[in-house]
């Protein structure tokens, strides 16, 4: 029976370290964009952070051994499921609260973190214009149907192609194209010359 030599162990350990480094690099590359996508959908900073954190952990636990090229669509698929779960929970909670006789309106008064996005050093004119466009775009995105918002963020911000987006959204490539076309149309109508 063959016994693993010291060299085999070193090889195995270095391979494990290489996978860990690759995973770290991948997550570092998508975490900010993923947060932005989750924030656009959930409109709540901490919920968005929780969703991204859960997606990272689930990817690491269940799919870390998959080829690195498959990580991105898988990660966004997991993230999308987490976002949907949170939205459902929020809907149920909203219905329950609506039925309560002495409910407070604290959540209604909560400021929208997207609307209150900090504007840092807007010295150049271009930056000012961009910030204005950014605010308007985020506001318009928030009003899009969920699937259109998702496809627009994945395609435009994350730069995923149609096939990857279809995997991430769990739908056909045709649906991706349709949702994307409608999202663009709706955003153009709302934003006009701003963007």
């Amino acid at each position: 029976m063959p016994v693993a030599s010291h060299g085999d162990v070193e090889l195995s350990e270095s391979s494990t370290n290489a996978r860990s480094r690759a995973l770290n690099q991948f997550l570092a590359g998508v975490e900010l964009k993923a947060f932005k996508i989750a924030q656009a959908a959930l409109r709540h900073e901490d919920d968005a952070l929780d969703a991204v954190q859960d997606a990272m952990l689930q990817l690491a636990r269940a799919y870390a051994d998959k080829p690195a090229e498959e990580w991105k669509p898988l990660f966004y698929r997991i993230l999308e499921n987490r976002i949907r779960d949170m939205q459902r929970r929020r809907t149920v909670r909203g219905r329950v609260i609506a039925w309560m006789p002495f409910r407070g309106d604290e959540e209604e008064d909560e400021p929208d973190p997207i609307a209150q996005a900090p504007s840092m050093d807007p010295s150049p004119v271009k930056k000012l214009e961009l910030a204005e466009a950014m605010g308007a775009l985020e506001k318009a995105l928030a009003e899009l149907p969920r699937r259109q918002q998702q496809v627009f963020m994945l395609r435009t911000l994350e730069g995923m192609d149609v096939a990857e987006t279809a995997i991430a959204m769990g739908c056909s490539e045709g649906s991706v194209k349709t949702h994307y076309f409608r999202a663009l149309q709706a955003l153009r109508e709302q934003l006009g010359e701003l963007v």
Binding site: E13, R19, L57
Partner: protein, 135 residues
């Protein structure tokens, strides 16, 4: 969006605006994302840890299991030998049991093989039965 695809001005400007908003994400969020990433990478590493490094954690469990198996084997082999002589003395244990259980059959066997003995016994039984019924 792949490199080969042509972007419209609208798409290009939208991307620029979104990328700008990503760059403006504050330090608190970045820090929390960093922590989440480290936790995820650690979880993946723990799952992939090579068998060699897990060997030492498995040794005590494997040792205990082996010891329990050894004790079971020893008891299994030595236990039945204490009762073996009893079984060995009887060539037909099932037949002996029947004889012991049936006292009348034992008498018949002890009387020998003679079918006459049986008839004598049967006649005695009939007479005894008849006498009792008359009284």
């Amino acid at each position: 969006m792949s490199a080969g695809e042509q972007l419209t001005d609208f798409e290009r400007l939208s991307r620029q605006a979104l990328e700008e908003s990503v760059l403006r994400i504050d330090g608190r969020v970045r820090s929390r994302l960093n922590q989440a990433r480290q936790a995820a990478v650690e979880a993946a590493s723990a799952r992939r840890r090579p068998l060699f490094s897990r060997f030492f954690t498995l040794v005590p469990t494997a040792g205990a299991a082996a010891a329990a198996l050894l004790v079971t084997m020893v008891l299994w082999h030595h236990g039945p030998q204490l009762e073996l002589p009893i079984v060995a003395e009887s060539s037909h244990p099932a037949e002996d049991l029947e004889l012991i259980a049936d006292g009348e059959a034992l008498d018949l066997v002890q009387d020998g093989d003679g079918s006459g003995s049986f008839y004598e016994w049967a006649a005695d039984q009939t007479e005894a039965g008849g006498g009792e019924s008359e009284t």
